[in-house]
């Protein structure tokens, strides 16, 4: 199909569709909180205080150590705290309170420098490889074929624009881990007709793909290998 055909074809859609989309949306009437307003504000204050406390590494480790756990290899799952925005369907949930814990003992983390000449390069995204310390000194080529690694793409929320096709993720700043900025991840997504939740691990041949969030773009290297028995 020649370039621009789709764009022009969308331009020629049934005018009723355009009119419908142009009509002012009907918004649900605001409910008066009345006496509940104080309770809502108090709850917001409590959650803010808890959120600030979570910035403390020890507090976070204690909480996440309880939340994050591994099941058996066949059905490994990372558990995340999930809050849904009011009234939103489950497949449009923003996931909060998700964080990486500390690096497991015996593992190291390194930045993987991006190539500014490659399409999709975005200096705001950091790529970090978390791997067993014994792999130190291996070349990139050697590392691409060994197991027990996690490659994490991390960035700051609000700085990244969506839809560039570079696989950027909508993440939120959370903490520092071993000198790196570490972030929460959110997004539930569908890929090839299947629905996946953040934290699901899919087995594909000998590669294990972890959905740590975001929308997979075609051609983007989304394969992440995960260490068996890794604890956070």
């Amino acid at each position: 199909m020649k370039k621009d055909v789709m764009r022009r074809a969308i331009g020629g859609i049934d005018p009723r569709l355009v009119e419908s989309a142009d009509a002012e949306p009907v918004k649900a009437p605001r409910k008066s909180l009345g006496f509940k307003r104080v309770a809502v504000i108090a709850l917001a204050v409590v959650l803010t205080v808890c959120g600030l406390l979570m910035l403390n590494a020890n507090v976070r480790a204690a909480v996440l150590g309880f939340v994050l756990n591994w099941e058996d290899e066949e059905n490994v799952r990372i558990h995340w705290n999930v809050e849904s925005e009011e009234g939103e369907p489950a497949d449009a949930v923003d996931i909060h309170d998700v964080a990486f814990g500390y690096l497991p003992e015996g593992y190291v983390a390194h930045d993987i420098p991006g190539d500014p000449d490659l399409e999709g390069y975005d200096p705001r995204i950091r790529t970090v490889r978390i791997m067993p310390a014994e792999y130190e000194g291996m070349t990139e080529g050697e590392l691409s074929s060994v197991p027990d690694q996690i490659i994490v793409y991390i960035s700051r929320a609000g700085d990244i624009d969506w839809g560039y096709g570079n696989g950027s993720y909508d993440l939120t700043y959370m903490s520092k881990i071993n000198g790196m900025d570490a972030f929460m991840v959110h997004q539930i997504y569908e890929y090839e007709g299947e629905s996946y939740e953040v934290g699901d691990i899919m087995f594909s041949d000998d590669k294990i793909t972890v959905n740590i969030g975001g929308i997979w773009e075609p051609g983007f290297d989304e394969t992440i290998k995960i260490a068996e028995g890794m604890t956070w």
């Binding site: 199909m1 020649k2 370039k3 055909v5 789709m6 764009r7 022009r8 074809a9 969308i10 331009g11 020629g12 859609i13 049934d14 005018p15 009723r16 569709l17 355009v18 009119e19 419908s20 989309a21 142009d22 949306p25 918004k27 925005e85 939103e88 497949d91 449009a92 923003d94 624009d161 969506w162 839809g163 560039y164 096709g165 909508d170 959110h186 997004q187 539930i188 997504y189 569908e190 929308i215 075609p218």
Partner: protein, 185 residues
């Protein structure tokens, strides 16, 4: 003034038709043009060009829906003007993203296939009529009106993640729909 009356004035070559159309739809058309051009002056010129294009095309055109007809003309003229303004420049903008997203629908399709544009428009319309209302409206606001995502969020009270997810899914569903009907190979 009723749209049918304005269209009749165009057909009768009554120049008051231009003033009538402008009075009724200038704000609407400027909004569409500005989503593309982000420049008030350019947008106003674009609207003038669109009204002139309507004058030159009616007759033989006899639009049932004048508002959408003028909007479509404005849309095309704005894109042409934008392309001319940005030719040779590497631009990263919301409009570029929007156009890239549209291209993504046909990525991998047979570039030699010739389809009548009107036929494709009809198929896309059929698809959109079959889709959930929210998804449909978000899709049209994004790819017909070129609304920035944040404007769509504000209009419908949706979060950004939700809007992006809706757009992605609708694009994928449309691609699948067109593939099943032989428009994409």
């Amino acid at each position: 003034m009723d749209d049918h009356l304005i269209v009749q004035m165009f057909r009768d070559r009554d120049e008051d038709a231009l003033a009538a159309a402008k009075e009724k739809y200038e704000k609407y058309l400027t909004y569409i043009a500005n989503n593309v051009l982000h420049d008030r002056g350019e947008s106003e010129e674009c609207v003038s060009d669109a009204l002139l294009a309507a004058w030159e095309s009616i007759p033989p055109q006899n639009p049932d829906n004048l508002k959408t007809y003028l909007g479509k003309l404005t849309r095309e003229i704005a894109i042409s003007r934008w392309r001319k303004n940005t030719s040779g420049k590497r631009i990263r903008s919301d409009l570029v993203r929007s156009l890239d997203e549209i291209e993504e629908i046909v990525s991998g399709g047979d570039p030699d296939s010739e389809f009548e544009e009107a036929e494709l428009s009809r198929e896309i319309s059929r698809f959109l009529f079959s889709v959930d209302e929210d998804k449909r409206n978000v899709f049209i606001r994004r790819y017909w009106f070129y609304d920035p995502v944040k404007n769509i969020c504000r209009r419908y009270g949706f979060g950004k993640s939700k809007v992006l997810m809706m757009l992605k899914r609708t694009r994928d569903d449309l691609a699948r729909y067109l593939k099943e009907r032989g428009y994409l190979k």
